[in-house]
Subunit: 456 residues, 2 copies
């Protein structure tokens, strides 16, 4: 019948659920620096652009078709489209689209994509409840802080075990953010976190399928619902996160509780958020950046006889596909990354389109790239030497690629990225209106300016 | 950046997702014995009675209030109530109520409560789509087979680690059942299982809170939605269950794949389902049964001078509360169980009500019970010797309590249990109508006879 368990347990964890609930419910509005607040706006804008940009992807169509089978109420908008669905379903679909291009934000310490679950839940709720932009940004900073701190505590064991950490911690972040937006008290917030703790989402095996972006969507949905349930009096364990058979010990054998409690309310994990300039795995970014710099020096593809690329062995191990046959394969080709950087000076979704990848000039340029393994070069760096047909030799070394924490994308670059994703959906003028609404959201009386610009 | 994982993985698993999908999609209708089919009806009826019985519990009120904030479409019924909500929300709420009393079915080998996630999803979907009763029962047998087989493969490691196995395997069972009900093909069914595989639900730390019964509800909801998504073309990994970073290896270090593949389509796990006659932990059941047998022999409480109860040490370890103060505490009191058995001949929710537990005669009778540890008696047995005031001594030994696999509740006893749960909600006459509709469901053209009898 019963049996003593053989699984190790830490019975001395601090009261994590309660500590986080007190923080979520009671931290002052904009209780952080202007720099943190600005980073929250950058995070929000980048997330929104990703969601609008992928709004016509086949995964969005499939998810919306399934949701419509439920005859949802018209409460909140599907970004990039004219459809309105209930809050939870909007959170689901916007969470899916925001991660479909794998172009959203990254908290590098944990490789969590934090905005997807949290912002998707918050914007849907804010639209329906009429929350102010200030309340939205407050909840975004706090929700992301919760998911990333829990991620810090469990990483890397939790990820190595197979969890897609974006979804598994995302339910907590979304619940925390929504609890804040609903102005739940400390006790109710603890219940919301507890309800969410039973619903971690996402396995890494799903990478490469639509279920990968489902993870932040399902986490957003579950987190929003957890907050609504708590508001209506539903209960959970007040130790649901930290108890021996609570969430964290169940899904991770490493739990460094201090990652959650240290400097809580003083250090904000959203400060460490980064944004990808290129729509592919981070390991190719330094090479693309280097070749874009060649282009910026006035070098054109037809001038190039040979490009010698020196990179760490890991780069070729993960992205060494020499002759990619289509856009998906090209995302695993550092050769295509170099060709795109030199030809276009950028590498967004457009530059990974099948018709670009198979173009004759791109095929020819890729073949001029000679990759050389050099483990003295850091994984985050790239060393490029172009030999031109006129005999000139041009060298570029990228220590930290654009988009890294050390060399972040500027606000203008984020706007440029936003345009590459949204212009085709909204047109350039409306996209610019939406960008301006994003920068202003923290001062807006509600999110209606954003919602009216965010669909075609 | 990247890092080779240290977590062990089995790279040679059979194609579990595909094997289960082929079974779910293609196994013949009623491709099993009459005995299996009858057990499916017993499972369905017991599940329905639990859900109706708890439909006025505060957890049902809270969940329904939260769902109503989403302005749900009126597609499917909340059992025991007049409310209609969308299919997914009905699956959620009926899943919650069916497990609220902890009185639902048990697959003893895994301690999964299999009907909660599966039947809750199926009935909601069947009501909306107009599926036949035959299709419903087919999907119930197959869905429960999937969740229990996955449970067999992972148990006990998965449970010991902290997972509430009812919810974690239940999403898969619900997805399988709903895929069958929607007549998805093999490929679509594999996708439904794959989507579900990213959404295991439930931590054991939640036991004693409303989030425990949320687990089968959330699993039902996620499984139903997974099937809808797959129907609309949403994709997942075709190896989502068995891959090294798929669900099963992520949530369990023990995975005996043969538990899934052996005798698939020949042995049906629903055959091993059991039903609790008493609304408390299984460890008290033999003692209640023994004292009920004393009552059946004509012995009344006032005749009793002393009851000597000999049980395994585990019984007192888990349920040794001598003086319970209320109904909840009484569920952990073998003394109260004995008093209820002798006084009422049963121990449903009514016999665990606060006002019964605190009644003077019950307090007095509990004090006459002397429990003696005897580890030569099996955990599943109880030895009771009553000494009467007139000097007579009456002895009852229960080897396998009523409700065990060896001594199952009869159909008449299941009906009696159903009445104890539902009469107060529906009245006795309508409850009887509902019972008859349950027995006839496999031959019914749709589920409307059930739905019209299942609310007040």
């Amino acid at each position: 019948m019963a049996r003593n368990t053989q699984v190790a347990a830490d019975h001395n964890a601090p009261a994590i659920t309660q500590i986080l609930a007190e923080y979520v419910a009671n931290h002052p509005s904009k209780g952080w620096s202007d720099a943190v607040d600005h980073e929250a706006h950058r995070t929000f804008m980048n997330w929104l652009g990703c969601a609008v940009g992928a709004s016509n992807h086949e995964s969005a169509h499939a998810a919306l078709a399934a949701v419509k089978l439920l005859a949802p109420g018209a409460q909140a908008s599907v970004l990039g489209r004219r459809d309105k669905v209930d809050m939870c379903s909007a959170a689901l679909i916007n969470g899916i689209t925001s991660h479909t291009f794998d172009f959203d934000d990254t908290h590098l310490k944990t490789i969590i994509h934090p905005a997807g679950p949290v912002a998707s839940a918050l914007l849907a709720m804010a639209e329906h409840t009429g929350a102010t932009g200030r309340e939205l940004i407050d909840a975004l900073v706090i929700g992301i802080d919760v998911s990333c701190r829990v991620g810090n505590a469990m990483y890397p064991d939790h990820y190595d075990r197979g969890w897609h950490i974006t979804g598994s911690t995302g339910t907590l972040g979304a619940a925390a953010g929504c609890a804040r937006l609903l102005k739940l008290n400390t006790q109710q917030t603890a219940m919301a976190l507890g309800i969410a703790a039973s619903q971690p989402v996402g396995m890494r095996e799903q990478f490469g399928t639509m279920t990968k972006p489902l993870h932040p969507g399902a986490a957003a949905r579950a987190g929003l619902m957890a907050a609504l349930l708590a508001q209506q009096g539903f209960t959970a364990s007040p130790k649901a996160l930290e108890a021996p058979r609570g969430m964290m010990q169940t899904v991770s054998t490493k739990n460094d509780w201090r990652e959650i409690t240290d400097e809580l309310g003083q250090r904000f994990e959203i400060s460490f958020n980064t944004y990808k300039p290129f729509a592919c795995g981070i390991v190719i970014h330094p090479s693309i950046d280097a070749c874009s710099q060649l282009r910026a020096k006035g070098i054109t593809p037809d001038q190039v006889a040979k490009i010698e690329l020196r990179v760490h062995s890991l780069v070729l191990e993960l992205t060494g596909k020499k002759e990619p046959a289509d856009g998906l394969q090209a995302k695993f080709s550092v050769y295509h990354g170099c060709a795109a950087g030199l030809t276009f000076g950028q590498a967004g979704e457009d530059e990974f389109a099948d018709e670009i990848v198979t173009r004759d000039d791109m095929v020819a340029l890729r073949r001029k790239v000679l990759a050389v393994v050099d483990d003295s070069i850091d994984e985050a760096s790239a060393d490029v030497t172009a030999t031109l047909t006129d005999g000139r030799v041009v060298h570029v070394f990228v220590k930290h690629a654009i988009g890294s924490l050390e060399n972040p994308m500027s606000d203008a670059q984020l706007e440029g990225k936003f345009h590459t994703m949204c212009d085709r959906v909204l047109g350039a003028a409306q996209t610019q209106t939406l960008i301006e609404a994003c920068w202003a959201v923290g001062k807006a009386p509600n999110v209606s300016a954003i919602m009216s610009a965010a669909h075609n």
